[in-house]
Symmetry: C2
Subunit: 95 residues, 2 copies
């Protein structure tokens, strides 16, 4: 339930999702997340740091931990579902 709370917070899912491509700096990560507000990004990052989903490397770049990668794995079915969802909605929309 705590997981649903943490990941249900705006941007957290997205951040983990964008972090899949490997370590990335603060500003670059922000860009990937639709230029979300830097203050909120910092806040979300500390939450994720806290939750051990994300770690900060010596060079200050952010990266997924093993746990974080686990979330990403667990998220893949959701990604697959979103395709089905999209096509269901579009089918629905056409005449």
């Amino acid at each position: 339930m705590a997981a649903l709370d943490l990941l249900g917070r705006r941007w957290n899912l997205r951040i983990v999702w964008e972090l899949q491509h490997g370590p990335i700096g603060f500003r670059a990560l922000r860009q990937r997340c639709d230029d979300m507000s830097s203050s909120v990004l910092r806040q979300r990052l500390t939450e994720l740091l806290d939750a051990r989903l994300v770690a900060q490397q010596p060079d200050a770049a952010y990266a997924l931990t093993d746990l974080g990668r686990g979330v990403f794995q667990a998220l893949r079915p959701l990604a697959r579902w979103s395709d089905a969802w999209a096509s269901a909605l579009s089918e629905d929309g056409r005449d």
Copy 2:
């Protein structure tokens, strides 16, 4: 990405999660969701109704559609991960 946006909104994940047990009325659903604000619950429900994840039955109870059940299925790996996460955090926390 739209999926991450929809499900990243507060309570949406939780609502789908609580709806897994079958059709349920507005007030009962609200109770299950930590007595969340009724105004927000209504707003979330219309979003989910819109997205075809939830449907309203003739007797006004809310239930997951096929798509909604799909989300729930897709969420199960996440639930499994949350167990691993919890134990990782507790191991970390002891002495």
